[in-house]
Structure formats: C-alpha cells, structure tokens
Amino acid sequence: MSIVIEELFPEVCSLFGDGANMKYLRQCLPEARFEQTALNDRPFFADNHVDMIYMGPMTENTQLQVIKRLKPFRDRIEELIQKGTVFLMTGNAHEVFGKRITDKDGTVTECLGINDFTAKRDMMNRFSGLVLGNYEDIEIAAFRAQFTKGYPGEGLVPFVKMTKGVPMNDDEFTEGYTRNSFYGTYLLGPLLILNPYFTKKLIKKLCGQDRKLAFEEEVIKAYNTRIADFKDKKVGIH
C-alpha cells in the first residue's frame, strides 16, 4: 500500500514558505499519494487511512476557523495520534491541537484540547530568531517568528533540546514537543529542506527504511553551512 500524506488547508496554512515542505516531500517520495484538503472540505483523514498529516502556520483568524473545522474530528485525530500516525504541525499550527490560547488582553481561544499545551499571545510583541539544538542524535537548525509563547504540559516530550537561540518560553530551553509521532513545533518555513537528517528520520517512520533524499548532496551542504553559521559565536540569535 502506498504512503498517504494529507496536507491540511494549504491555501491558508502556508504563510512563510511552508508549502515547500510538501513540495520537497513529493520529490523525496514520488510514489506516495498526497491529498490536499481545503478549509471548506471534509478532511481526507476523517474517512481514510493516512500515514502523515501536515499543517503549516496561519493567521490568528484562520486559527479560529481551523479549530471550528477540525472540532468534529477531534476523536478521530486522537485515535490517529494513539495509532502512531505522523503529524507534523509547524509554526502556530500545533497550537490548534492544544488546550487554549490566551491573549494579553485576557481573551481566551479554546482549542481542540487534544494535547496538554497552552499558549500566551501578545500581538504587539513579535519574537523571532534562530533555533539550534538536538533531536535524538541529530542537530536541528531552523527559525521561529511568532506572537505566542508556548507551554507544554504533562505527557509531552520536548522536540528540540536547544543549544542556542530563542526558546518557546522564558522557562525552558526547548522548542516544540512530541507525543508518539505528533511533532508540534514553532519552527517554520521549509523545515524539512533545512533539516535533511530530520527528514530522513521522518521518511524512515513512513517507509520503514532509509531513503536517499531529493538533491541530497546539495541539501546536506546547505545544512552544514547553516549549522556552522549558527554555531559561530559572532552570529546573534535574532
């Protein structure tokens, strides 16, 4: 059976070049089936088998619409997470799966409540910068730019243990979280292109074997250049 990857709401959930993640995965996995679900459509995962679900960052208003659209499928999403389906939620997409987002003025947005995660949002303060750290045995190098600070609760494992950069809150030097194969991360943009070794791990989860990436030599060269750049003490975090 071929691998099935669903991209949720790409027309509104790709603010920072995030669509390139799926474009790249298509080139890495030419035999896989890719399903794109628009905001007004019924998600493919609701009635079908999927191996991976991807969603990228969105505006704050779009978050409200996405929560509304996904609410009827809350139990199905929980079932898929329990089963080990890969979820990759980048930028503020993963906040939708958490408990709530609280704005500085006290406004509370109730989210899907699937993961024990809360976010605090301040629209007058955007914080951005680079993130360097480790996930299992590999180094992750990527970027964040966001209005929220994120607070993972019990049962969530940090995604990246950071060595340099701007963390997702003021208390922990970590970035994002995992739960089974759910990856929730504020890292945004072409994360899979910037991090070829992470992409290899993800693909191994999907295929059960090591695979050569598209443009592997060039992607790894760019990755090595970035890792060296990030490690340079003269390179600031934002």
């Binding site: 027309e11 509104v12 603010l15 920072f16 070049g17 995030d18 669509g19 390139a20 474009k23 790249y24 080139q27 628009a38 905001l39 007004n40 505006t59 704050e60 208003n61 619409q65 629209m123 955007r126 951005s128 910068g129 680079l130 970027f143 730019a145 209005f147 945004l188 943009g189 072409p190 292109i193 598209a214 443009f215 060039e218 992607v219 060269k221 760019a222 250049t225 970035r226 750049d229 990030f230 390179v235 600031g236 975090i237 934002h238």
Partner: protein, 460 residues
Amino acid sequence: MKKPIRFYISIAGAKILIKLMRLLKRNATNLPGEIMLIFYPKLLHHFDMPKNVIAVTGTNGKTTVSNMINNILRSNGADTINNSFGGNVDTGIASLLLDHCTMKGGFKKDTMVLEVDERSAARVLPYVRPDWLVCTNLQRDSLKRNAHTEFIFNILNANIPDKTKLILNGDDLISSRLAPENPRTHFGIAQLPDEKPTLDNIICDIVSCPKCGSKLSYSFRHYNHIGQAKCSNSSCDFGSPQVDFRVVRTENGEAVIMHNGKEERYKLPNNRITDLYNTCAAVTFARSYGLSYEQVQSSMSEVKVVRSRYDSFNAAGKEVIISLAKGQNPVACSGVCDFVRRESGNKAVIMILEDLYDGKRTSENIAWIYETDFEFLKGDDIKQIIVGGKRADDYMVRLLLAGVDKSRITCCRYETDTVKHLKTDGIDKIMIMYDLFNVESLNSIKAQLKALDSKEGEVK
C-alpha cells in the same frame, strides 16, 4: 493649546544636533528623531501640522508613489516637505518634522508628503493626522517584522484617523477594505489587451471571503492576489469595489486611464504592471486632490524611476538590466523574477539577494525564498543563473526545487565574484537582481561588467 516644555527642548536640541551632523557631513534623517523620541516619547503629539498632509503607505510601491506625488505637487507650485531622503518610520518622520518645524512646532511650508512604513502606522498616523492616505497595496512582506497581511491590515485599520480621505487599490481585496467609514477613491487596472497575467504565483494572500468564509472567485488576476474577485457564495455581496480611476490600456509609453467616462493619458516611467499601479495611484491622488488633468499630465511627463530601482546599460555587447528585488519581500522579488522571464532573448541572471543588514547580526531566515517564484526562472531562455553570497548554498537548493537545471546554476561565496563565472556566449541580456543592502556589491559588479568592454573576450 499649551505644549509641554519638553517639546520645545526637543525642538531646540534636535535643531542643534541636525546642524552639527550636517557640519560633519552626516545625514540627519533618523538619529535626531530617535534621540528626541527617547527624551520625549510624546513628541509627535504636539506639532501643528502643515495645512495639507499626504501620507503614502503600503507594502510595495510607497517610495515611488510618494516621490511621484511630491513631484506632481511641486511642479504645480506647492512648497512641500517630504521624507524622500529619510526614514519612513517614527524616528525618521520625527527627524523630518524637527528639522522643518519652527521653534513653536509649526511649519512655514503648507504641504507635507510622507512615506509611512505600514508597520509603524500606530506610532505615526494618529499624530501626523493625514488629510489624505494613499495605500498602494498590502501584500506578504518580511515574515520577521510584518508577520502577515492580516496583522498589518489590523494595525493600519486601527490607526487611520476618521477624517482621512483614502486613495485605495481597488484590485487589492485586502487594503481596499481599510477604514470602511472613511471617504475613499479607488484605482485599478482592467485586464489589459494582450496582457499575460501571472497566475502561477506561490502566494495568494486572500483566497476566501472575509465576510462568509466561502471561496473567492477571481475573474482575473494581474499577479498574486491583485485583480478582481467576488465571493462564490451567491447570497454574499462581498467583492472588489467599484474603481474610479482605471487603467484600460497602455499606448506609446502612456497609461490610458478612464475616469468619469473620459480617457486621460499619462506618461509611464516603465511598462511593468507595478509601474502602472504606481502611476495610477499617484494620478488618482493628484486628480482627487483637485489638480486638473492637464496639470497632472504635464507633471507626469517629467517623472522618472529612481535609478537605484531600475537601471540599464550596455557591456560587452550585451544589454545589462538591473532591478531592485528587495530581499525578504517575496512578492516584490517574484515580480522581478516575472520581469526577467518576460524579457526577450537569451539571458544570464546574476542574483545578489542576501539581506546584509540582517546578516550583520544574525543568520538570515531564508524561508522567504520558498515563497518567491524562482520557478519563473526555469525557462530555456535563461542560460545561466549565478548566485553570490553567504546563502548561495540555500539558493542552489531552492533553484533545484524550482526545476532549474543544475548545469545552469553557479553559486559562489562572494557577491563580487559572480561576474567571473559569467558566460556571455549566446547571451543577449544580463539581468541583475539585487537587494537594497547589496548596493556596494552591485556597484562592483557594474564596474566589472563595464570593464568587459575594454577587454572583450576575456570573460566567456
């Protein structure tokens, strides 16, 4: 109304500082305002603004449009203050005001034309209280600073004074919705005869109806989300507004604009769709402001594009075309990619797009290059793409993902080395795309290309 003593101290201090800086041959376009805003944060609240204040904002085109408007007003006798040589954020605008104001905080000149950074609107618009606000468009810009168009829209929308008259782009369903209660005039461009619209952009910033959430149906798009659309839900009335000044065609280097059922013709500085929008925005303002067709037409005949934004010359028997591509601004950069693809003949492209300003402090977030339409550069008529800069490895990957043949891509660490890799055989044009902060490298590249004339054949 009585003003605080700190306001007068700020004026006096700034004027001394500006004089000193000019004696030292430094431009005083930002620092005096920056210092005085620290000394007195409410500084901007207390100026007695000139009789006519015109502000120009928007993601792309605001510099060109504010320069055009300033030129039109000056050539029609207005004595204007403007920030064409200064900053467009609160500190730059404070410097301008401090430089030109009297010791009491008033102004001798009666007209001011301000380019205002859209992100800074909250710190500027409520205090300069523009009589007119021209918004060229709202499009995706630097993800770090500007986040997304909804964020910028909300900032602008919350800070436009009630009495400000708006000149808005009717083909932009984002900015045309600003301050709906304010008086407004819309400009736009019809689908032009022989126009080949750009429908394959990665970015479209508005795809669903802001009223009911249904899909928007575009009757045409010039590029990105700029075009005419309406809500696909038949019970919803949302759609593009009625346009008051519409470009209907271009002819002999002129834009033909329909207004009140009559044709008006204005010289164009260039033929790109963005130049058409800029011209139409400036004309719409000037005509709405009360200038006659003849007055505006005569002023527009003298308008030229600032050389730093577009330039061309011949070198080694090839036409060299230079375009500002604004790094970290995917819409502007995509526009230049589109321009490159539409140019006739075989082309070599030199790209120096790295944001050196950002690069001085940190490692540039290159996410924006994945929103930029480098796919436009994969045609067979583009024989070579040479990328220079620290992020050249990233551009290699991006161009490969765009479908550009690897044999046509050359990457080098330094911008100024790009010319060494140029192969001029079989090339008609050399197109240079550069970022604003790369002017020094651009000048070196230009000099190297010009030097090819004297030793033609050396670089092949």
